[in-house]
Structure formats: structure tokens, C-alpha cells
Symmetry: C2
Subunit: 271 residues, 2 copies
């Protein structure tokens, strides 16, 4: 199945645009997971069990595993999503970017080792750094465009031509040149709804991964108005900390369930 | 010791600007390492033994470990460098780039888990994505500026102001703003000597990590003429494949020794 078909099926079967970001921070875990061997995987399992009915996607963020030497738990987490939430898209959020021969190794990592459905990629090194990912038409390649952080302005807003900023150039390059297999998405932060609307105007129905709601303060209504497509989809709206750490007590899973449901409902109210 | 002092000491004590890139590709290994458990570490050990007298730095490239689930062998490799080549700088080449809270996790990975002396970082997400690395004054933060690959032209050469390209803006931003702790370097490919000279003209004695000699075709004489400082240093010139795979036979270590020595000598002839 093509990546575009898989994503469309995920939106439809879950009736949701919510992506649950799996950014484990053991010091924020409830006690029984914090120092337990395999605690990251066990915590993720509980979160996945609590949220799968509301999630079209899961997005493990690589740094949070790498910092804790928890690659095996990342593998187990992805296996568990595939086994118990087979309709959800798995996004490995590792923002890879390197020369072609090295990018081949990163594609192996993302698509073979971790068997992710999609991976996030940084465009700074240009076309040949993205090509080894693009050629997998059954996998998504999610290219950083306008990120959700304050520093997004530093380079991404530089004018690279009359009336055109770097992030706008990236958006158009991806839509017109890199997306020939139909498997590209863009990262566009919910924290910048004006830029989100601008990019939507440049790239047709290209899907966006939208971080920045929840802990980073992005507004769901504004993001939906700015970014949704005519079909009422086009966005994968990711929340991590606000769901994972909705409660630090024994009720963390119920709290995550409720928060994911509320986010799903609030998004659907604006579709 | 500050990172700048450590790098200066490495150049001096080894009388070399050579960085040996540790990019293991098991299919290119001599037979006895190829499918052996721990073969990546054993191969690296043999390369380190063969090259340490000519190397001011070692640079393990992260993708080549991640693709093979070889993080433990990466840890062992770095431990081995520290034990047997204590004057060399260890550069974790992972080109990290993410929002601030995530970059904190990547800093933990690079500086605590792997205990690297320096890490490569992508500037696309701006200042707050680099800040968690910068604040470690004893560690190097090596920011992508003008990379060695063909796609370097795609974004890095875009004009972001009158007579100023994106890579030139990055170079100046790093030199003037991000380098306040004196621990920054820039990645500048040897494959583009004109750009290398241009950047040197903009940033004073800021040190560069220079990939692209060897398999990628960069010329040592041109790179030295374009990039060295008045002191005859300022560059960490990295070669990976040309050294690691100088021979695929039983003489691979001797061939690596010879190739690293030749590179050291050819660089020193132009200092």
C-alpha cells in the first residue's frame, strides 16, 4: 500500500487526526515505571492502550530513547503499536539529514530496523540527502518546513527571493520536486497559524505533521482553520507531553485517555 | 579543559590535522569481521590501532551504527579511543537538530551516554535548538555550514540578503552569536574550496571540520590553501572510506595506516 493510502486509511478508520507523541522522560513517569527495567516500554504500552482509539498516528521521538540507551525499548514500542493499533501510522521522529551514502544508512535504520511507516527529515543538505528516503514509496518522508519552536524564525524566515522565505521555498520544492512518489509530508508547527495557512496555500493537499499543540501552546481551532484540506483532513496533529504527563499519579493512563479524547473531539469539531 | 584547548592540544601533540571517520559498513569488511558478533567494534579497534599516531580526531558517524543496531559497539569504540588515543578529539557525527526540550535529550546522549568531545548539529531549527549543546563549554558544537555533498547547493546557496548566501549567514551567525563560549566549529566541505575560502574570510580563526577529501574527491592542497589559519591549523580534515577500506584484504590495517600517514603528510606539506 502506498504511504498516502495508508495515511488516508488511518484518518478514516480512527476518525481522528491525533498523533500521540511518545517522548518518554522517566523522571516524569509514575513511580512504578521510573526505575524499572524496561520501564520506558511499559509506560509506552500503557499510553498506547489508553489512547489507541483516538490516534491515527504514533510518533516516538528518537532523542528520548537515545539519551537512555533504550533503542531496544523503541523497537518493542513500535512492534507493540503495529500489533495492537494496526491502523495507526508510526512516525519515527529523528530528523535525519546527511549526505547521500549516509542517508542510505538512515533509511535502513528507519524502514528496516525500526519498520517505521514514516520518518522526519531535515532539508538543509538538499535533495540528495532526502533521495534515499523518497524512493521508498510505501513510506512517508516528513520534511521540516516551519518548525514549532521560537528559533524557527532564525533561518526559516530568511528571505531567499522577492517575497519568499526559506520555509516557503522548502514547501514549494517539496511539493513540486521531491514529492514525485506522493509520499512527502511537511512539518509545520501549530504555534504559527499564519505560516501554516500560507504553506497550505502553496502546496495543495500535501499532508502536514503539526506539532506544537498542548505543552507548546498552539491553538487547535486556529491550526485547523489554517491547515485543514477541503476533505477535513490533511493534518496529523501531534501532542506529546500534554497527553503522556496529563497526570503523574496512578491515574496517568485515564488522564492520557481523556486528554487524547478531548484533543480528538476538539479537532473534529473544526473539521 | 575548554574544548578549544583540547582541540589545540590534539593538533599539537599529534602533529596532525587528520580526522579518521569511523563509518563501518560490514559488507566492506575483511571476512573475519563481516558477520562476527562485535565485528564492528573489532574492525574499529584495528583501524584505531593502525591510525592513532596520525589522527588528531576520530569521528564515528551515527547512521552506520544505528542501521546495524550497534549502539553498544559505538560506546565501546569511543571508550577504546579514549583509552588508547587520549589526545584525540572524539566527534559524534549525528547532525542533531530539534526543538530545545528535545535538544536537551540529544545533548545528554552525545555528552553523557557516549561521552563525545564534540557533536555535529544542524542549524535549520535555529538558536534554541543549538543552545542545549552550546552551554557545555568543555564540548565542541560543530554546526553544518556548507556541506560536502552535491545537494549542498539546494538550500545553502540561496541568497538571503544582498550578496549573502544562507551558508554565509550561518557562518557569521555562529561566529558572532553562537560562539560566545568559544566551543563552536563549522562543517565546511573540502569539495568546495571557493566556499571554504569565503567562509574563512568571514569567521577569523573559527575551526572547521572538513569532510570530503578521499572518496568524495576533495583536494588537500586546495582545502589547505583555502581554509588553514595563520598558525597552520584551524582545520580538522576528515577521511572515512578512503582510510577504512583502503584494502579489503588481510592487509586492511596496514593499508589504513599508510593512507592515514599519507594524508597527514600531504596536509602537513601545505601547513
Amino acid at each position: 500500500m502506498s504511504f498516502a493510502d495508508k495515511l488516508a486509511a488511518a484518518w478514516k478508520s480512527t476518525n481522528s487526526l491525533v498523533c500521540v507523541g511518545l517522548d518518554p522522560e522517566p523522571k516524569k513517569f509514575p513511580d512504578r515505571f521510573r526505575d524499572a527495567p524496561g520501564g520506558i516500554f511499559e509506560f509506552n504500552k500503557a499510553i498506547i492502550d489508553a489512547t489507541r482509539e483516538f490516534a491515527c498516528a504514533y510518533k516516538p521521538q528518537f532523542a528520548h530513547y537515545a539519551a537512555h540507551a533504550a533503542e531496544t525499548q523503541l523497537e518493542h514500542t513500535i512492534d507493540y503499536i503495529k500489533a495492537t493499533a494496526p491502523n495507526a501510522v508510526v512516525i519515527l521522529d529523528s530528523k535525519r539529514g546527511d549526505i547521500g551514502s549516509t542517508a542510505e544508512q538512515y533509511a535502513l535504520e528507519a524502514f528496516d530496523r525500526y519498520d517505521a511507516d514514516a520518518v522526519t527529515v531535515n532539508p538543509y543538505l538538499g535533495r540528495d540527502s532526502v533521495e534515499p528516503f523518497l524512493k521508498h514509496a510505501d513510506r512517508g518522508v516528513i520534511i521540516l518546513c516551519r518548525t514549532s519552536n521560537p528559533g524557527a524564525r532564525d533561518l526559516q524566515d530568511l528571505h531567499v527571493g522577492p517575497g519568499k522565505k526559506l520555509f516557503q521555498h522548502v514547501a514549494e520544492t517539496v511539493a513540486k520536486e521531491w514529492n514525485s512518489a506522493g509520499n512527502c509530508m511537511l512539518v509545520v508547527g501549530a504555534t504559527y497559524p499564519d505560516e501554516l495557512a500560507d504553506i497550505r496555500g502553496r502546496v495543495g493537499d500535501l499532508p502536514f505533521l503539526v506539532p506544537g499543540v498542548g505543552a507548546q501552546g498552539g491553538d487547535v481551532a486556529k491550526a485547523m482553520a489554517a491547515g485543514k484540506t477541503q476533505a477535513g483532513t490533511g493534518l496529523v496533529i501531534s501532542s506529546s507531553r500534554a497527553i503522556l504527563y496529563a497526570s503523574s499519579g496512578a491515574d496517568f493512563a485515564e488522564a492520557a485517555h481523556r486528554t487524547a479524547k478531548d484533543l480528538r473531539d476538539s479537532i473534529n469539531a473544526h473539521r
